[in-house]
């Protein structure tokens, strides 16, 4: 339980069995005999509780308690039952019988202690849980509107690190990991899945994150932790239909401005002066741009709009009786992109139908079926590329040649962004995926053997994807005033289409026996034995043709001579035998042991089976009498520890198989081309000779240890959780350094050689307070992680200095090396007397350039002066979040602050170069740079600026080195989400036959505090920062329960 959460009274009763509205006909027949009921509601200490919902069960009749806890219900039918509910308290139902006065004492709900947590291949009571497992419930996930489940979880789960790289529709461009490790195994309803990001939060009952040895039960796939998702199941009772929908707008969190034509031409001149080459633009040209006499184009506004809409809708239906229960859900998400062309968009449809049926008294069956269909539409020219072009396009070009809208202006480079961002001009990229997951399970309570259950499960996943990319050539023009003609040029020629189809399938078969029994009402025993078999097959095919005539955008209309086909097929299998034993003594002393004997087809026979054990133990100190007697307010204090081993089979790609790749994809490296040869006019595909193999290759092994403390004071008044952990990985794949001479002609294969260690801590601290009608919650969580090499294959250093600089052994992995910065040079004299940093007596250094520190004092700035200048290379060491909730009468509010610190990002490309790529346009901040007063006078005075003096392409500039100038503290603190809701009074909504209406407004990525002023700190290092931006969203919506 990561973050306490609160819901409104009406919703809190949704899942209880007796919450449904009774037969309305019956109600009307009893309406004749009515009376008044009054009373007072207090808590356990005798304080009145205001705002308690009091409803006559099965009717729309009800009220709220006033400030002194009192209520009056008029016209209550005879024989009715009153339902008292309040946030954070146990709902009570009291039959009125003949009483006119009913006083009620509400007990605080012991949140967390009676909860059940989903763990690997089963569930566990939270009180007896010994592993480090975090879980979040549906309500916490639903409190924000994001298309990606990963972004939804940011800041909510201690130890779950989420980095959003961009908000490009349909890309799901976020990194998610547990404790800073690699990609986690995702399990949905007991079966591995690849669609984590796309699951509709409305379908999710809860999410568990297994962070320590509790993951070891997943064996060879579990080294990076496991995320378990459980979808909702039906509840017996009256059918319930719920609609929720929202509409919102998105806009960039931050977006650097490109230079206008006056700034650009001026910076070009300064750069040329600084580089000693002739000046291109006369002062008159610059002045004309400045005055607006010659127009200048701001490409961002030409191509992008200020906001783009998004909307989501979801309809769920659930219900059933004791025999058959069902849950169904239908969801829709539509996200538009920020391009004015409207050609960047995303649509997603989710459905789910979960049915549980009791077949006989001892046998029941579960069917869970879920599907996701989505479609991403995008210009063929990649959106990040369009963004780059928006920045780098020369502002002195007009959008249209001779300002005639029939003729798009031909530019030098890049292509005209209007052309590349518009599908009708330059083509499109449409990605469609259809995913299906279906599980069938049988549960059988074995008769005559009390406590023994058997379970059989078959699961089938199918991911089908279809991508269609149409690259359409489009014309642009240069106007020739001499002849009054528009000279035509083709861009992105030739037109071609790429289509790819593929499908991934996975079958999962599980058979298990489960035993659970309590002896002498003190010894609780649970046992599990399970066999699992997985088979994964991937099959893909793609084809491409070029077009002579591109009017018909179908593959078959292309030129068959110029066609390419290729494909990719793979198949893997895993087999596992799993066992687990749980024992606890009165829920006080807890012990768990589990193992998995796991085999993977990715390794050679004899190296493919592994044994993965785990043990964990817990002591609930609060159950001891000395605690109960002396510190009764500590309702829960648990110490727990775990140890386990797991593996990872993802890395190996058949490095034990000798022979030849056919057809070869790459003999030496990836970018080499071609891989075929023409014999007598016909093409012969080459084969790839596999050099040496490693017949002993196997998975790496991860050993985790975790120690934790859970504390609850006065139930959930205060809760505290602390974990400290380490994970040691051994047998990481690496090439043995004992290098063979290259003259052997083959290199050694990878072996299981290296090891690393990651360590970290996690805290959670939360409180829930009831102050009259106000319920208030505050919860903070913080996690710290770091990782270092223990054993690494590296050359023996020649001396201790090299050992210091080059050896990574026992060194954190995320260190950034660079020069120390001693400000910037102010004067030529300062340059002349400074250590040499250009190799040419500082003749190439100008005032305003970075002044690097001569660390070793040898008078020369070179690689020997580089020292560690930062840690946390692009990925944060520390992540934390604060959740603030409150509810007052019908109002509710949930705010999540999310932050990361302890990391630095290296700026590159356009983020440091004012004139990137041979004098393209750059960002306007660089206009504020050091320059000389007169571009024609080499002796004119230097005018200081915020940025160093620019140079033209190819001329030495000292400023792009790794130093505090380019390596920036990327810490940030953001208001990640804020939701405010209002539930209409029940008395009102019941009149219109609706159980509940809640309206809400929420926002995502609302506020941002960072040291990097011009860029969202979560993504500056991706593609030189020119990714599609991260957006902030504002949404309004409604939840209706019928």
């Amino acid at each position: 339980m990561a973050v306490p959460s609160f819901s409104l009274s009406a919703e809190s009763s949704l899942n209880s069995k007796d919450s449904s509205v009774e037969n309305l006909l019956e109600i009307s027949s009893t309406m004749e005999q009515q009376k008044q009921i009054t009373g007072k509601v207090t808590d356990e200490k005798g304080n009145p509780v205001a705002g308690v919902t009091v409803i006559v069960k099965g009717t729309t009749l009800g009220t709220l308690t006033d400030g002194s806890g009192k209520y009056i219900i008029n016209n209550a039918p005879n024989g009715s039952t009153l339902v008292f509910s309040f946030i954070g308290m146990v709902t009570q139902e009291i039959p009125a019988q003949d009483r006119a006065l009913i006083d009620v004492v509400l007990k605080e709900a012991a949140v967390g202690l009676d909860e059940v947590v989903v763990v690997g291949y089963g569930t566990q009571k939270k009180v007896t849980l010994t592993g480090s497992v975090a879980s979040v419930s549906n309500k916490e996930i639903k409190a924000v509107t994001t298309v990606s489940l990963a972004d939804n979880l940011a800041g909510k789960i201690p130890g779950l690190r989420v980095r959003q790289n961009s908000s490009e529709p349909g890309v799901y461009d976020s990194n998610i990991d547990i404790r800073g490790w690699g990609s986690a195994l995702i399990i949905v309803d007991g079966v591995a899945s690849d669609n984590f990001f796309k699951i509709d939060p409305n379908e999710i009952e809860n999410i568990s994150v297994l962070k320590d040895a509790s993951a070891a039960i997943y064996g060879v796939r579990a080294a990076n932790g496991v995320i378990l998702i459980t979808t909702k199941k039906g509840v017996a009772g009256e059918s319930q239909i719920t609609y929720s929908g929202s509409y919102g707008v998105q806009s960039e969190t931050s977006f650097p401005r490109a230079m206008n034509a006056a700034e650009h031409t001026q910076v070009v001149d300064w750069a040329e002066q600084n580089s000693g080459v002739p000046i291109t633009f006369s002062q008159q040209i610059i002045d004309d741009f400045k005055s607006g006499k010659t127009p200048s184009t701001y490409w961002r506004d030409v191509v992008m709009r200020n906001s783009a809409p998004q909307q989501q809708h979801n309809l769920t239906i659930s219900g059933g009786n004791e025999k058959v229960k069902y849950f169904g859900s239908l969801g829709y998400f539509n996200q538009q992109g920020l391009f004015k062309s409207g050609d960047l968009s995303y649509k997603r449809y989710n459905f789910r139908l979960n049915i549980t049926a009791q077949i006989t008294k001892s046998l029941d069956a579960e069917f869970t079926v879920g599907g996701i269909a989505d479609q991403k539409m995008s210009p063929h020219y990649q959106p990040w590329n369009v963004i780059t072009d928006i920045w780098s396009a020369h502002p002195y070009f007009s959008v249209y040649a001779n300002n005639n809208p029939a003729y798009l202006q031909k530019m030098d480079a890049p292509n005209n962004p209007v052309g590349t961002s518009t599908s009708s001009l330059s083509g499109y990229n449409n990605n469609t995926t259809n995913s299906f997951q279906g599980n069938f399970a049988l549960n059988w309570k074995i008769p005559f053997f009390n406590g023994l259950k058997a379970r059989f499960l078959y699961g089938y996943n199918l991911n089908h994807f279809y991508n269609r990319g149409f690259n359409k050539r489009f014309p642009s023009y240069i106007y020739d005033p001499q002849k009054d003609v528009y000279n035509q040029f083709w861009n992105l020629s030739p037109s071609h289409m790429d289509e790819s189809y593929g499908q991934d399938t996975r079958s999962t078969l599980q058979a298990s026996l489960n035993y659970e029994k309590t002896f002498n009402s003190k010894h609780n025993i649970k046992g599990l034995i399970l066999f699992e078999s997985l088979k994964t097959a991937n099959d893909g095919f793609n084809g491409s043709r070029q077009f002579d005539v591109d009017a018909v955008d179908q593959l078959y209309a292309g030129n068959s001579v110029q066609q390419i086909t290729s494909g990719d097929v793979s198949e893997f299998s895993n087999q596992g035998i799993i066992g687990r034993l749980n024992y606890d003594y009165s829920s006080k002393y807890i012990f768990e042991f589990s193992f998995r004997e796991d085999g993977s087809s990715k390794f050679p026979s004899g190296k493919r089976w592994g044994f993965f054990p785990a043990v964990s133990t817990g002591w609930r100190v609060s159950e001891e009498n000395f605690m109960k007697n002396n510190l009764p307010f500590i309702t829960n204090l648990k110490l727990r520890g775990s140890w386990g081993q797991m593996g990872d089979d993802a890395a190996s790609s058949f490095q034990f198989v000798p022979g030849y790749y056919y057809p070869t994809t790459s003999m030496f490296d990836d970018y080499r081309y071609p891989q075929s040869y023409v014999f007598g006019g016909s093409l012969v595909s080459a084969l790839g000779v596999i050099g040496m193999i490693n017949p002993n290759i196997t998975w790496y092994k991860a050993t985790t240890m975790d120690f934790g403390v859970d504390v609850n004071i006065l139930h959930d008044n205060i809760n505290f959780q602390f974990d400290i952990y380490r994970r040691l990985r051994t047998g990481l794949l690496a090439q043995r350094l004992l290098s063979l001479p290259q003259s052997v002609g083959a290199s050694l294969p990878q072996e299981n050689l290296e090891s690393d260690l990651s360590t970290g801590v996690e805290f959670v601290l939360g409180t829930t307070q009831h102050i009259n009608e106000l319920v208030f919650g505050l919860s903070g969580q913080l996690s710290f992680t770091q990782s270092k090499w223990i054993k690494v294959e590296e050359a023996l250093p020649g001396n201790s200095y090299l050992n210091w600089t080059n050896s990574n052994k026992n060194r954190n992995k995320d260190i950034i090396w660079g020069y120390k910065l001693d400000g910037v040079f102010q004067t030529q004299d300062e340059i002349n007397s400074a250590p040499i940093q250009d190799g040419l007596g500082n003749s190439l250094i100008k005032p305003g350039d970075n002044k690097y520190t001569d660390v070793n004092g040898d008078g020369i700035i070179d690689g020997l002066d580089k020292v560690p200048i930062a840690t946390g290379n692009a990925l944060p060491r520390i992540n934390y979040g604060v959740t603030l909730t409150f509810a007052w009468k019908g109002l509710d509010m949930n705010a999540l602050f999310q932050a990361a610190t302890g990391f630095y990002s290296t700026l590159n490309g356009m983020l440091i170069n004012p004139l990137p790529w041979s004098g393209m346009n750059g960002l306007s901040q660089f206009y504020d740079c050091w320059h000389q007063a007169d571009v024609n006078d080499p002796n004119s005075a230097w005018i200081p600026g915020k940025y160093p003096p620019p140079r033209v392409q190819g001329v030495f500039s000292p400023n792009f080195e790794s130093s505090p100038y380019t390596v920036k503290d990327a810490s940030y603190f953001r208001l990640k989400s804020l939701e405010i809701g209002y539930t209409l009074p029940v008395t009102f909504t019941k009149k219109v036959g609706i159980q509940k209406i809640r309206v809400f407004a929420n926002g995502y990525n609302l506020l941002l505090w960072t040291h990097i002023p011009f860029m969202d700190p979560e993504h500056p290092t991706v593609i030189d920062g020119s990714t599609y931006p991260i957006t902030k969203n504002y949404n309004i919506g409604v939840n209706v329960t019928f």
């Binding site: 078999s533 023409v678 290259q742």
Partner: protein, 613 residues
């Protein structure tokens, strides 16, 4: 109880079914075939052969700064030799000795051919076919070693597949053989190949003549190194001077055998000499001059020559262009038709610029090969005039900022998007005169010399298809003209002037320029002819290395560009010589041999590094 027993047995059956299956984990990868599968099937053997051929060190269109079979946007070979310049980076004569590095890839290629040769005995082939495949593999091995020896000097000769068993590291650390021994090994491999190979072969595969041509080329290298180089490191580099004639004779004999076979002749299909020399490189099918041709085939096997080399004004849709810009020096290497030296007539005797009303008249009467090799300013290519204009001369300009040329005021600002108004004498968007040509010089245009490549450019490839990996014109790796030039050079080195003259005049006659007299037959004229005839075919740089003249030829050298100006007052064009951008270049003596990779020296302590590194 009956029912429960049934259920229990079903569960146990499932459990056993799942639990017992190690076999279920035996899933073979879908993209790997075994050695036996390869050598039992001739199609698979051909696929192996394709691997060997595609990795031959042929310096074709895909050879650039990153090595063989690459996206070669920086075409280093012609650049470093001073034939042309690249606007994509300063890769001058100066270097760190790793430009041409082919150590690791070279030995990997050799391992592959060794493995092929070792498997031929088990191949499912008729005996005569085995012999012919063996000959082909030996040709390939010789070619691979020639690729190594011309870069590094002596290298370890490894003719068997080496395996590492965990503790035979020192056995795998093979010392360098002498440079002479490597050349002798190449000669011996080729002699065997010549015996085993067929007279003719399908295009792209070796035959007797191809092996002979390679032998004449390799032995010419060995002869030059013996004569002009010096023996160092006990012969790891260098060849004793006394052996020079032995190698020249071997080169001469091999070339002579090809000539005497009568199978080849110089291409002479077109009456117009410039047309003829242009077509030679584009009409490679049934071309009597082609000996060894590497064909390309769209889409899997292509190159980017047109993409890289079209002039900016007509460059392909994805940019690039102008990758090799011939230098003014190279342009002037081409003689006039009458055999006089090729200096361009920019100024008259008094230093006054010559006015040309037709700017292409500057290049009249040059060697017909010149405009088949180089696109000159205002020449036509693909139906467009290649606009090369560096500025406007207007002595009455109203602009306040101007430079001067030949003492007159000159406007050179901006790029092709900017215009000059002759009436107001100002730069103005309303003007009608271009200042900078679409193909330069100046502004955002990429060409840096005023000249562009013509040789091998495909005039029929639509501009819209001058695109990444869309060119398929064949690369002529060996042509008869080279055999004649090898023959002529070996002959003159052996003192056989008559043979040299005959061969070189055959070349000049086909070119359409004056023949050499006996008195003209000098080593310099033969070398000059080789430079012009084989320009931009990636011979020249290796030639100046083996002749050991590169360090004098490229010493504090800045190459030149031609700058055409339109003179408003006269309405004519004038031309000036200018420095092409870039720092002065030096060719250091150590660069006669590449540096052996440092990590290789560390991995193999028996290796000795080349001199001066």
């Amino acid at each position: 109880m009956k029912i429960s027993l049934k259920y229990i047995s079903v569960f146990i059956a499932i459990a056993l079914f799942l639990g017992s299956c190690d076999k279920k984990l035996d899933i073979a990868p879908k993209n790997i075939i075994t050695n036996d599968q390869v050598f039992s099937n001739e199609s698979a053997i051909r696929a192996y052969l394709a691997t060997l051929y595609v990795n031959l060190p042929i310096e074709d269109f895909n050879y650039g700064i990153r090595g063989f079979n690459q996206f070669a946007w920086v075409p280093v070979p012609s650049h470093v030799g001073g034939e042309g310049l690249s606007p994509y980076g300063g890769f001058g004569g100066e270097g760190d000795g790793s430009f041409w590095g082919w150590w690791q890839d070279g030995f990997q290629t050799i391992r592959n051919v060794n493995q092929f040769i070792q498997n031929i005995p088990i191949a499912n082939l008729a005996e005569d076919k085995k012999q012919s495949y063996l000959g082909e593999a030996m040709f390939i091995r010789a070619y691979d070693y020639f690729g190594l020896v011309k870069r590094y000097g002596g290298v370890p000769i490894i003719s068997k597949v080496q395996t590492f068993n965990g503790n035979n590291l020192s056995e795998l650390q093979v010392p360098r053989d002498k440079e002479q021994d490597v050349y002798d090994y190449i000669g011996q491999q080729l002699d065997s190949a010549i015996l085993l190979l067929p007279e003719t072969s399908e295009i792209g595969r070796a035959n007797k003549s191809i092996a002979l041509t390679l032998k004449s080329r390799a032995m010419l290298f060995a002869g030059s190194i013996a004569r002009y180089g010096s023996v160092q490191l006990n012969g790891l580099v260098g060849i004793p001077a006394g052996d020079a004639n032995k190698y020249f004779q071997a080169s001469f004999d091999a070339a002579n055998t090809v000539i005497q076979s009568g199978k080849y002749s110089l291409y002479n299909a077109k009456p117009d000499k410039t047309d003829n020399f242009t077509s030679l490189f584009l009409e490679t099918a049934n071309n009597p001059e082609c000996i060894f041709v590497r064909d390309y085939s769209y889409p899997a096997n292509t190159h980017c020559y047109d993409l890289f080399n079209l002039p900016t004004g007509i460059m392909g849709p994805s940019g690039y262009g102008s990758a090799i810009d011939p230098t003014l020096e190279m342009a002037e290497e081409f003689e006039y038709i009458d055999g006089t030296p090729g200096a361009l007539k920019l100024i008259d005797g008094s230093g006054t610029p010559i006015q040309y009303s037709d700017p292409t008249a500057l290049f009249a009467n040059k060697d017909p090969r010149f405009q088949a090799t180089v696109v000159v300013p205002f020449a036509k290519l693909k139906g467009s005039v290649i606009d090369v204009q560096a500025g406007i001369i207007d002595n009455e300009t109203a602009e306040t900022s101007f430079s001067t040329i030949y003492g007159r005021k000159m406007i050179t600002v901006g790029d092709f998007g900017q215009y000059y108004d002759a009436a107001s004498h100002r730069i103005s968007p309303d003007g009608k005169l271009i200042i900078i040509g679409m193909s330069g010089l100046g502004g955002i245009e990429r060409g840096i010399t005023g000249f562009y490549m013509r040789k091998y450019i495909d005039p029929n490839l639509p501009q819209a298809l001058s695109y990444e990996w869309h060119s398929t014109q064949s690369w002529i790796e060996m042509r008869y003209a080279e055999v004649l030039l090898n023959y002529a050079e070996a002959a003159i080195e052996l003192g056989e002037m008559t043979n040299a003259k005959t061969a070189v005049n055959e070349i000049r006659d086909r070119a359409g320029i004056a023949l050499l007299n006996d008195a003209d037959v000098t080593i310099d004229r033969i070398r000059h002819e080789r430079k012009v005839e084989l320009a931009f075919e990636n011979h020249h740089y290796w030639d100046i290395r083996r002749w050991r003249i590169a360090d004098q030829f490229i010493y504090n050298t800045t190459w030149s560009q031609i700058r055409p100006y339109y003179d408003i007052q006269s309405g004519n064009y004038v031309f000036a010589r200018g420095d092409a951008p870039g720092e002065p270049l030096f060719f250091l003596r150590k660069l006669y041999y590449e540096k052996i990779p440092v990590e290789e020296i560390q991995a193999n302590p028996k290796l000795i590094q080349n001199p001066l590194y």
